[in-house]
Amino acid sequence: MDLFEFQGKELFKRHGIPVPRGIIAQTPESARAATEILGGSSVVKVQVQIGGRGKGGGVVLADSPDDAEAAAERMLAEGFGGRRVTRVLVEERLAIAQEFYAAILLDRATGTDLAMVAAEGGVDIEELARTKPEALRRLHIDPEIGIHPYHLRGLTGALPPEARDLVENILAGLYDVLTREDATLVEVNPLVLLQDGRVFALDAKVTIDDNALFRQPELEMFKSVHPIDPVEFRAREAGLQYVKLDGQVGIIGNGAGLVMSTLDLVQQAGAGAANFLDVGGGASADSIATSLEVVLSDPNVRSVLVNIFGGITRCDLVAEGLLEALERIAPAVRIVVRLDGTNADEGRRILEDARHPVIVPVQTMLEAAKRAAELAEGAAA
């Protein structure tokens, strides 16, 4: 789960990392009021979980409450990067002397934590990492040992001497966020040295491990402010992995790898997938029925491809689930079904006996992709 900047900063504060004074606003009027409280000027920052805000007009320096109100109004009305925006963060303006970069993340290549610090921060950090890799100090930290003062000294070695102690404290705080809040990424860009000598985290990017939410009940609450599509919500409640895409072939499969492969095959057959849907292991008749309803709720869908390779999942239950769903809904599109693996013969027989007019049984995955693509094209024409 990716946190919004204001949520990340909430965690930063808890772990002693200095952040600018800020107020969350959900209306232009409250952005104005917040700016008045902050002394008449502010920075208005759109709250979305994607990068590129600075370059894309998502961060506005407001010289007056009027400016702040106008900026908030635009952000809330227009959204950002194609996403709906429900909140802006209104922060105090600070006099910045220098910008740095700091991040700690779980490095999957080594299974250890990787801390990185650069004396140059800002929007071009990836460019810097490519062209001047030595400018980015990197250190791996064994999660069994944790972060130690010698790590901190090593990481901050290229920073201005007057900033080093403060940045070391912040890095220790970031490591705390990583380990105590079950984060997999904490990133501050920029980390700023102010003209008065203080060091602040001007931004906060934090990703929390979904698998650990059971022991982080407070973070689970952060989830509720995320705007979520009702169809995706329904899928999630049923334990389905569903992602909407823009093609016309609805996809249902079991296992992420097999579903991704199915998407690829549909494209090779000349069509596009309307979604990614993984029913997971041990799918029941009920979850198959819900999957079909979720996929068919997308008006762009012109055909559906069900691709199941039964391991834990039993193909007879999948077949029953499909027929059950078809009693509840009468789709206007054909459903291509390919079953293999555990109880595949029973599953195929159930479909054959039912002779349902919308079901098109096929033998192989390749054939299924071709047939579904043809049907989508035929239906669209």
């Binding site: 698998n211 992602v243 693996g341």
Partner: protein, 289 residues
């Protein structure tokens, strides 16, 4: 020979009295695997259709000579089962459990470094050497004994490709489902190295997917060390690009991670990459004939 599991494998199942644990322990035994013990704290002295249950792995090892751990316990207790198995110095630990917090896994992986145990998983389908031993949840009936090694990050996609091989009469020495979690035990690299030394493996199929850079690192190994042909498959050419948070991930992986980058890295290393599971099986057939 085969790798990781064979006729000498003796399995102790952690979580054997749970629904999944019972089902798969019995299924593995029915396949011919020596499932010699189970562990569920507080249930020592019971048995699951003749498989004795112990309170600890150490007790199970003392009583039965188990040398391989198979783990089905829930996510919040699973790393403890891995540590327990490592402390009993079992040679192989296969963790099927999905949903383990990644920090728990990072600490566990750190502890395992330098220990004699090999970990497979977590969040994986397990390991099968067809005709000899099945440790995990891969359906035995889709496999056949033979000389193709297979290693994969995926579950059902593995079954698909194994199935296509078996249908063409191409059997497998060992199939390794390494799992897709960010921090995991055995990877492509270690599996390829084991297959490279296994006299009963002639060719290796590796099945990757988007994310991470395990495939790219495997490609470097293949180019330098691998003496046997490798056929590859990568899923996710059309998968939606994950929304990206921050720069840190991009800084450490660069352009790695996409299906395109992985396929290109493998091809540069001399690996033939099939565009569909069917093409993978056809490539294997062509190389072997």
């Amino acid at each position: 020979m085969s790798i990781l599991v064979d006729d000498t494998t003796k399995v102790v199942v952690s979580g054997i009295t749970g629904r999944e644990g019972t089902f798969h322990a019995l299924r593995n035994r029915a396949y011919g695997t020596q499932v010699v013990a189970g562990v569920t704290p507080g249930k020592a002295g019971q048995d699951v259709q003749g498989i004795p249950v112990f309170d600890t792995i150490a007790d199970a090892v003392d009583a039965t000579g188990a040398n391989t751990s198979l783990i089905f316990v829930p996510a919040r207790f699973a790393t403890e089962a891995i540590l327990e198995a490592a402390d009993s110095e079992l040679r192989l630990i296969v963790c099927i459990t999905e949903g383990i917090p990644v920090r728990d896994m990072a600490r566990t992986a750190s502890y395992l470094r330098g220990k004699p145990s090999t970990l497979v998983g977590p969040n994986c389908p397990g390991v099968i050497s067809p005709g000899r031993s099945n440790v995990g949840i891969i359906p035995g009936e889709i496999c056949a004994p033979g000389r193709v090694g297979l290693v994969s990050r995926s579950g059902t996609l593995t079954y698909q490709i194994v199935h296509e091989l078996t249908q063409r009469g191409i059997g497998q020495s060992t199939c390794v489902g390494m799992g897709g979690d960010p921090v995991h035990g055995i990877g492509f690299l270690e599996s390829l190295a084991l297959f490279n030394w296994d006299p009963e493996t002639d060719l290796v199929v590796m099945i990757g997917e988007i994310g991470g850079d395990d495939e790219e690192r495997a490609a470097e190994y293949i180019a330098q060390e691998m003496t046997k042909p490798v056929i590859g498959y990568i899923a996710g050419f059309t998968a939606p690009p994950g929304k990206r948070m921050g720069h840190a991930g991009a800084i450490i992986t660069g352009s790695r991670g996409t299906a395109q980058a992985k396929a290109e890295a493998l091809e540069l290393a001399g690996v033939q990459v099939g565009r569909t599971p069917t093409e993978v099986a056809a490539l294997v057939e062509a190389v072997l004939s």
